[in-house]
Each structure stands twice: as C-alpha cells, then as structure tokens.
C-alpha cells in the first residue's frame, strides 16, 4: 500500500508501523524507547506525529499503516510536542555532558540540538539519585541520567531471557533496579551500553578513554566464533603520524539481519586487545639461540627451497601443514591448490581452539570464524597427529596460533623439535615461538580482504580497516608469492582471480561470487 509522509509518497507493507516506514525512507522521527528488536513500548512519547483525521497526535512507533494514510512529521504541532517531551526529559536530567561518556552519540543531546534549543524553564529542585551503580559485568548505571525508556529491561527479558533488571517504584521516583545482589551476568551485557540512548548505562571498558567524536570507525567481522558477527572497530590514531599506529578503543555491533541481528556477545566486544597486542611484526629466523631478521623474499626463497628439496611431485609424506579455520575462504582454497594438489600432500591437519558450549543466541561451539568454509573446501577437522609429525615430517608449515597451548607442553614440543624445518605464520607472538625456525607475521581480518563462511553457510566478504602491522602480510599474498617461487603456472595476481577460480571449482562459493 501507499502512504504519505510529509511530501513523500511511500510504499508501505501491511502490518508495518509509521515509524518503520519513515526510518526506512530516511525520514528522521526521533524516538528513545523504540528499538526494532522489540515490540513498541510507547512510553517515551518522543515519536508523536500528526496523522490526518486523528484529533490527537499519534505515536509513530505503534501506529500501523493504513492505505492512503497521511502523516506529518514536522508540522508545528509535532515540533511543539517534541520540544515539550524534550523539556520534560531535560527537566530532571543532570547536566553531566562534560563528564558523560555518551556525549557525541547521545540521543538526548542530538534531539535537543535538532528539535529543542529552548531555555530551561524548570526552576524546581531536581530528583537526586545514585549515579554510580554497578549493575553487573562492566556496566554502571546512573539513575539521574536514566530516562526510563526500559530498553535495558526489555533486552534482558526478551533477548537474553535472563531478566536481571526491573522497574521499581512509581511516578517520579521510578528507577531501574535489580534484586538484592543479583547482577547482570550474561554474555551479552555489553549490548546494554549500546542500546541505552543516553549515558545512563555506561561500559567501564570505555569509561573516560576518549570523546566519541575523536573515534574513527571501520567495518569488520568478529573472528572469535563461527557466527561471524558484523562489527565496527572504533579506534584513534596516535598523534605521532609517523608511527601510524592505532589504538583500538572499542568494538561495537553492526546490524546484520541475516547473521547477528543487532547484537554481539561480550567475547567479541571486549577482545579488542586481540587486534593490536602482542602482534608479530617482523620476519624472524631462530638459529642456534639467536634471532635474526630476514626479508620476506629471503624467507620465501628458503621455504621454497626446502620444499623443493624434499623432491615431491607425487604423493610424499614429508611435508606437513597445520592450518586453522581462522584462514579465509580464499586462503584455504590457495592452500588446497598449492599443497594438496600441486605439491601433493595428504598431511593437512586442523588445529583450532577447543570447541566450547554454544549458547542459544549467537555464540557457536566452534571458536574460529571459518570452520564451515574449511569444510566446504574439503578440509576435515583432523587434529594434528604429533606421532606422525615426529616420525615423518621434514618441513612443517603452521598457520595460526592454534598450537600455542599445545606447544608449551612437553610432548608436543619434543615432537616439534624433531622436525628439521618449521615455519610459523601467525599474527601474534606468544609462548612456543622459540620452537619454530622461522616466524612469519601475518594479518588479521581487520587488515586484509577476503571472505569467511559462518556456521550457517553465509559467506561474508570483508575489507581491511587498516594496513597490516609492521611487516605483516595477508596470508593470501604470501601463498601466491610462495606458489610463484615453487614455479606454478597459475596466473593468480590478486584476490579476484582467486575468487573466480574458487567459485568455478566449488559451486558452494558461486553464490558469493555472483
């Protein structure tokens, strides 16, 4: 059906609300309590609009569209109502902007700037309430700032089903609270600070780190489980431009209806040290208790010589690969083509973090982002067989940090020590690095292009947010260079070639290519 909003004629689906249609068309109808994940609440009263034929202003969030309906979102009556609702909210709101983390991304501020601009007329004493109330995990509640939109209460009742928060008291004394010492303790707590429209619920992970307007933002994907949640990584560049480093401030959810909806879990949210800490930056060679820097060219030459030295062209058993499903679809495809087919190799093992419990929301049992992709490309979950490795492998390539835990232990370390040439392609440094002869720094998802396949088979492409750290390179670049050193005729120049080839050979990936 068609409805009119202001001077525009818009297509509207049966059963949708005026607010939904307006937002989809890019028309700003301000609102606090409405959130697309929940049923309309109707309590903030900010989204009042004028509906032709209705005597009172109506809520855009809960008024269902009717064919031929005509709505005004900026008439004098509507603008006056918005001002008045804002005035009520600000009447009991503390003047905390100078110290409030939400400044710059606060709806109350934004709406005041757009629709308010009045002088304060409230002369009475404001309600005084508690301002630093720990409510669980990393969250604090400031009851003076709270506008009682109840998004937090509804999130915990309807999304996590844990219901830790409630609405206590009545009238102007109404406040958000919890029962005795029961605090929020679920893996999605961080979303509360995001959905709070003002600075009432704040995340101590972010407290006082920066002002939001200094943040830059890049879209990426979370690598910590098989869901592939869409994220925004927010960072600040250091003032020393020459260094061109970045400081990750926080990770936020990016909406994707097909993958993670509106949310991310706390593991992905609070793991921003993963992106920048303990990064491997240089190509290193460990030789006789000394560590020497090499160039990539040199290292790849050495590696290709070692491989060629094994004299493999048919089925050989002396080259081993331990990979992980942190590699992208394209990288796994390249590995398959270079090592399983071209070089001939049956020794590919998968070393991933141990699977843990999945929850009923986003978190999958597998704690790596591309296990499904690996399977679609023909890799099975074979954990490394260290007896085999010790007995037969002469040249071992390890991709990823999957061996870290294991390589600290005696058995694995002993096995590794028996392998003459070991190459580690990892993004992070860590324990067990000294077990390897060659350490080659590689990129994380935020530093390269590629695609990963989530647990349900959704193929998601991503672009880099930054350049790689130090001398790190994306694995796919390294693999193509290695292939050239090994003398293959494949004309892979960049990812596009790889993707096309992947789509040709594996119908599953055709859909992403289209």
């Amino acid at each position: 059906m068609k409805i009119r909003i202001d001077d525009r004629l818009l297509e509207a689906a049966e059963g949708s609300t005026v607010l939904e249609v307006a937002l989809a068309a890019g028309i700003d109808v301000p609102h606090f309590c409405f959130h697309p994940a929940f049923e309309p609440e109707g309590s903030c009263r900010m989204c009042l609009v004028e509906v032709e034929g209705a005597p009172k202003l109506e809520l855009a969030c809960s008024t269902r569209v009717k064919d031929g309906m005509s709505v005004l979102t900026s008439s004098p009556r509507v603008l006056e109502a918005r001002k008045e609702v804002l005035e009520f909210l600000l009447a009991e709101h503390p003047l905390d902007c100078p110290i409030c983390d939400k400044a710059g991304e606060c709806r109350l501020q934004d709406y005041y700037e757009r629709y308010g601009r009045f002088d304060a007329r409230f002369r009475e004493a404001k309600e005084k309430r508690e301002k630093i109330v720990p409510i669980g995990r990393k969250l604090l509640l400031d009851r003076e700032r709270c506008i009682l939109c109840t998004r937090c209460v509804r999130f915990l009742r309807e999304v996590t089903g844990t219901g830790e928060l409630g609405v206590f008291e009545r009238g102007a004394r109404t406040e958000i609270g919890f029962f005795e010492d029961w605090r929020i303790d679920n893996a999605y707590s961080g979303n509360l600070a995001e959905i709070c429209p003002v600075g009432a619920i704040t995340d101590t992970d972010f407290s006082f780190k920066t002002r939001t307007w200094f943040l830059e933002r890049g879209a990426s994907l979370c690598p910590h489980c098989g869901r592939g949640c869409n994220i925004d990584i927010e960072f600040r560049r250091t003032t020393n431009r020459a260094v061109a480093e970045r400081r990750i401030i926080r990770v936020r959810a990016r909406e994707n209806a097909a993958v993670n909806g509106y949310w991310i879990c706390d593991i992905g949210r609070y793991s921003h040290p993963y992106w920048t800490e303990n990064r491997s930056r240089f190509v290193l060679m460990n030789k006789e208790a000394k560590t020497v820097r090499l160039s990539w060219d040199k290292a790849l030459i050495i590696l290709s010589e070692k491989i060629k030295g094994l004299g493999l062209r048919g089925k050989g058993g002396r080259l081993g690969l331990i990979i992980s499903s942190f590699l992208t679809n394209e990288e796994l495809y390249l590995i398959g083509r270079i090592f399983k087919e071209a070089v001939g190799l049956g020794n590919v093992w998968l070393a991933d973090p141990k699977p843990q419990e999945a929850d009923r929301l986003l978190l999958t049992a597998e704690r790596s982002p591309n296990l499904r992709g690996a399977r679609e490309l023909g890799f099975e979950s074979r954990p490394p067989d260290f007896e085999e490795i010790e007995k037969r492998i002469q040249v071992l390539l390890v991709f990823g940090s999957g061996l870290r835990e294991a390589s600290a232990s005696g058995e694995v370390r002993n096995a590794l020590d028996r392998v003459p040439a070991k190459f580690l392609f990892a993004a992070h440094t860590g324990p067990g690095d000294d077990a390897f002869d060659f350490l080659l720094p590689v990129s994380l998802i935020a530093e390269k292009s590629g695609s990963i396949t989530n647990t349900e088979g959704a193929i998601q492409e991503f672009q880099p947010v930054w350049l790689p750290m130090g001398e790190a390179k994306p694995e796919w670049e390294v693999l193509i260079a290695l292939a050239r050193e090994l003398g293959f005729g494949e004309a892979w120049t960049d990812l596009t070639d790889v993707r096309e080839a992947m789509a040709r050979e594996y119908p599953f990936f055709k859909k992403s290519h289209e």
Partner: protein, 157 residues
C-alpha cells in the same frame, strides 16, 4: 522476621494461587498473606513468593515497590492511615493529623518508639461522606474529631 514459613502459610498461598488461570496472577494476594505473617516483605518473603509462583524475584520486587499497601520495612503493630484528600481536608484532616502527631509523638511516615503505631497520610479512602476519615489496620473510622481520637486509638493495643 520469620524466615521459615509454616506449612499452613504455604498451603494458604498455594490455595490462593490455584484460583487464577495462571499462578503468577496471584502475586498481590500472596504478598498480602506473607505481609500479614511476617509484618513486612523482605528478601525471604519476596523469594518465597517468586518460587511458589514461578516468577523472577525482581518481578516480585517490582510489585512490592509499586503498591503502597505492600511494605518493605517493618511497621508498628497497627497502621493509621489518615486521608488528606479534598473532602477530608475540607473537613479538618490536617487538624486530626496534627493531633495524632502530637499524641503519638511521631510525624507522618514514622512509627512510635514502642512499636505500637505507624502513622501515614494517604489519598482518598472512598469514605468521603464520613469526612474526615482514617483507617486503622482494616477498620474504617469516620467523622474523626479530636475528642474521639483517644477512644479510637484505645481500641488498638
């Protein structure tokens, strides 16, 4: 406050709950029972109600803090509720209140030192033709003049 609840209390609660299509609808009557038994609704009472009715305790507390007749803090043996709404105010409710405050030595919202009376002001009790009126516990008292106060209070030990 008794943290262990006698079997007859549990039985009474469950009998009330059985009258409703869903147990949780019985929350208000159940809380009244527990308040009668324990004097006020503390953590133990809230958790018991939650358990017996299949509710999260936070929901129980939402009700306890919303409804004025449910109290979280212990009160005196008898609660005096003085109406100060319009008809009673016009009939001299403020004067009755002042007399009670003087007689009991407490202000509105407080409890006498001997734990006998809690004095509260409330909105309309629905007894306006008997203004000024007050309630003591569940009893209505209308046309409350200063000279009657001693007699009324005397009924409640």
């Amino acid at each position: 406050m008794n943290h262990e609840f006698a079997p007859q209390v549990l039985a009474e609660v469950l009998a009330v709950a059985a009258r409703y299509p869903r147990r949780e609808a019985a929350l208000l009557p159940v809380l009244r029972i527990l308040q009668r038994v324990s004097g006020s609704l503390g953590r133990a009472e809230e958790q018991l109600a939650a358990e017996l009715l299949g509710l999260d305790p936070v929901r129980v507390r939402e009700a306890v803090t919303f409804y004025p007749l449910l109290r979280q803090k212990p009160a005196g043996r008898h609660t005096i509720r003085v109406c100060v709404n319009l008809s009673c105010s016009m009939a001299g409710a403020e004067h009755s209140l002042a007399c009670l405050q003087a007689r009991l030595g407490i202000g509105a919202g407080e409890t006498t030192a001997d734990g006998r009376f809690t004095l509260l002001t409330v909105e309309c009790l629905g007894n306006c033709d008997q203004a000024p009126c007050l309630m003591v516990d569940g009893d209505d008292h209308g046309i409350v003049r200063e000279e009657r106060l001693d007699e009324i209070l005397g009924r409640y030990l």
